[in-house]
Amino acid sequence: MAEVTQEKRTDYGPPHYEQFLPPIVKENYGKWKYHEMLKPGVMVHVSDSGAKLYTVRSASGRLLSIEKIRMYCDLADKYCDGYIRFTSRHNVEFLLTKKENIDPLIKDLKAMGHPVGGIGNAISALVHTQGWIHCHSAATDASGIVKCVMDDLIEYFEETKLPGKLRIALACCLNMCGAVHCSDIAILGIHRRPPRTDHANLKKVCEIPNVSASCPTAAIRPATVDGFQSVEVIEEQCMFCANCYTVCPAMPLNDPLNDGVSIWVGGKVSNSRHEPMFSKLAIPYLPNNPPRWPEVTSAVRSLVELWAKNAKKYERMGEWIERIGWPRFFKMAGIEFQKEHIDDFKHAGLTFKRSTHLTF
């Protein structure tokens, strides 16, 4: 009987968070006074009551096997009374009450292959998406590039030698599930070939008016092709957004020869100092070159280092570029400015340089 009721339960929502809070957190909830970074990846929060909570932040690859989760649990049982949390950027945080547990925990984590860091003026883990692991839309892989980029930048995760925080994110298509649009550096998978319509099947799987309507540039119109009721795409009007594909499976854009990656810079989310900003196009196209995407990793490293070398303390990527101006940024970064960089979408005019504030 109980069993049956159980089966019909819906809309009960997630478990209440309180049962997952360590006692020290419950006791000092809302009473934290200040925090300090003790060393890379380790900080302490001090409460009004004087209580101290130590946090050790460790990188995960986000894609975790249940084996790995269980290993984490073992560590949390050993050092944290069975509590553990994840962060909004997919790191794992161990909350300790005993300072002396910090180093043994870090040792165990490193032994498992999980670096500790990402706190303070560091690069934290990449927010990213599914890529070839799970999504039909992907113009590139997600986890693979993330792995290569962070292998290369690991020093900036494990140390805090940057002028400020630097957030990198990746999305494998223009849907931008990784919400890369406000990242210091964004890696974005892009298509560059118009959809190749499966004329024979389109009518069966999609509604033709919906497909036409889905195109923001009105590049799609109903047409009979090879005797099939289908659509035709005016290729010059296509900017590869894949909205048609989202609406209709018979219009795939994935294409090994033309898909690849673009790099965007200067976005931020926090309101600290400068208001939030969108990322802007830096490198229009780099090829998909698995398994190690050398072009992408080296481009990202150059950008990180250029910023690290030139920005003032606390200056995020976008704040730095705003101070020195985009022309100077392109020069310093050695990136050729091209037609592709110039906005030509709806509000394009507002991105034109409407002053003489120029550097030479």
């Binding site: 809309d11 209440h16 997952f20 957190v25 249940i66 790995k68 292959g113 292998d151 400068h274």
Partner: protein, 403 residues
């Protein structure tokens, strides 16, 4: 695919290097899970061919719910039969992503039995992502989740799983209780979360202060970001401490204030709070000396989203300051009105931010019965194209104008 044949020279390259390897994770799972093993095989092929091999998603789910499962099928089911189905389940994470090891182990156990053994901790909306299972496993999994009190999250045109920063649990700057609010709203909107009935998705994200650690201003249709109304609390002694310890207060703090409302004469730090923009910078840098004021609440913003189709948007101010006190009724009333007008007049696949831009903020405010305030705009209009709704007719008494 026969066990003996599984060679992954491309993917093996991704086991090198210091960052945790997802390939290693898949291989760990693959020891027990044929699904994980075929995933590895198909992925190796993707790496070789530079192409994903997943078919366009199909609609699958559990009884009673309209979302929460992303259907996925291999385009190469003959080559990789174990991923011919490879559906993802989105499980609503607990607020702030805090767990007991016990609860996590229970999830692992279910997923060991009935799924690929692979997860994302977490998806970028915030859910626990259980990565890869077959259609016939969906109901059994849901029924086992019920037993451990984990419910399914959102997908499709519904409320998406809300998320929040750790807030008061582990942060000195939380201006309201993010986890309590996140939980409350999640519970209040269970029906909207599980049964898509909107023109498109609607996301909530709760950050405790303007640092916005869940990036809510960039990726939530409603962004609820903590702030304060009164003066920054200053501990003068602690300021002196910072100065003594060598901090260059002028360069590091004062010169970085976007409002230019701070003064430091080498001895005393003064803040002209009526100009302070609540940006957090000074507080971030001098965590021991400065704290947000005591009259705390949140700024409610509306409309952020990724670029498809009108271009990406950040959320914009709807309520400059709202006291975030349960049951948050006034806010919920406004949300209802927003949903009403958006459901009624929104186009299919039109996010609320796009909807507002299409109908005009002024008209939108009329519809949700909110007074316009200057805080809603970065600046007033620059163009002279004002729609006045009434005019005098000859013979009108001046007083009679209103129509």
């Amino acid at each position: 695919m026969s066990d003996a044949a599984l060679k992954t020279p491309k993917l093996d390259e991704l086991e090198k290097g210091k960052w945790p390897s997802f390939v290693t994770e898949i291989k760990m799972a693959a020891k027990k899970s044929p699904m994980a093993r075929d995933l590895l095989g198909q992925l190796e092929k993707s790496y070789r061919d530079k192409l994903g091999y997943w078919k366009h998603g199909g609609i699958v789910g559990v009884m009673g719910y309209g979302g929460g499962v992303i259907g996925r099928y291999s385009a190469l089911p003959e080559e990789f039969p174990n991923v011919s189905h490879f559906h993802t389940m989105r499980i609503n994470q607990p607020a702030g992503w805090f767990y007991t090891t016990d609860s996590l182990r229970k999830i692992c156990d279910i997923w060991e039995k009935r799924g690929s053994g692979l997860t994302n901790m977490h998806g970028s909306t915030g859910d626990i992502i259980l990565l890869g299972t077959r259609t016939d496993q969906l109901e059994p999994i849901f029924s086992e989740l019920q037993k451990i009190d984990f419910d399914i999250g959102g997908s499709g045109s519904d409320v998406r799983t809300p998320s929040c920063c750790c807030g008061m649990a582990r942060c000195e700057w939380a201006c309201y209780d993010t986890m309590a609010a996140c939980y409350d709203f999640t519970m209040a909107y269970q029906d909207e979360l599980h049964r898509p009935a909107f023109p498109y998705k609607f996301k909530f994200k709760f950050s405790g202060c303007p640092n916005d650690c869940v990036a809510s201003i960039a990726r939530a249709d409603m962004s609820i970001i903590g702030t304060w109304r009164d003066n920054i609390q200053i501990d003068k002694a602690a300021v002196t401490e910072y100065a003594k310890s060598g901090m260059d207060i002028k360069a590091d703090v004062v010169d970085n204030c976007p409002a230019k409302c701070m003064e430091w004469d080498g001895k005393e730090l003064n803040i002209e709070n009526s100009y302070c923009r609540r940006c957090m910078h000074c507080i971030n840098v001098m965590s021991k000396a400065l704290r947000p004021g005591k009259d705390r609440g949140a700024t409610i913003l509306l409309g952020s989203k990724a670029p498809i189709i009108e271009g990406a948007m950040l959320s914009s101010v709807l309520i400059p300051f709202y006291k975030m006190e349960p049951p948050y009724q006034e806010l919920k009333d406004i949300i209802e009105r927003i949903w009403d007008i958006w459901c009624e007049e929104g186009k299919n696949r039109e996010r609320v931010g796009e909807f507002i831009q299409r109908v005009g903020m002024g008209n939108f405010l009329d519809a949700i019965e909110l007074e316009p305030v200057a805080e809603m705009v970065a600046h007033p209009r620059e163009n002279p194209y004002v729609f006045y709704e009434e005019y005098y007719e000859e013979g009108d008494e001046e007083e009679e104008k209103e129509s």
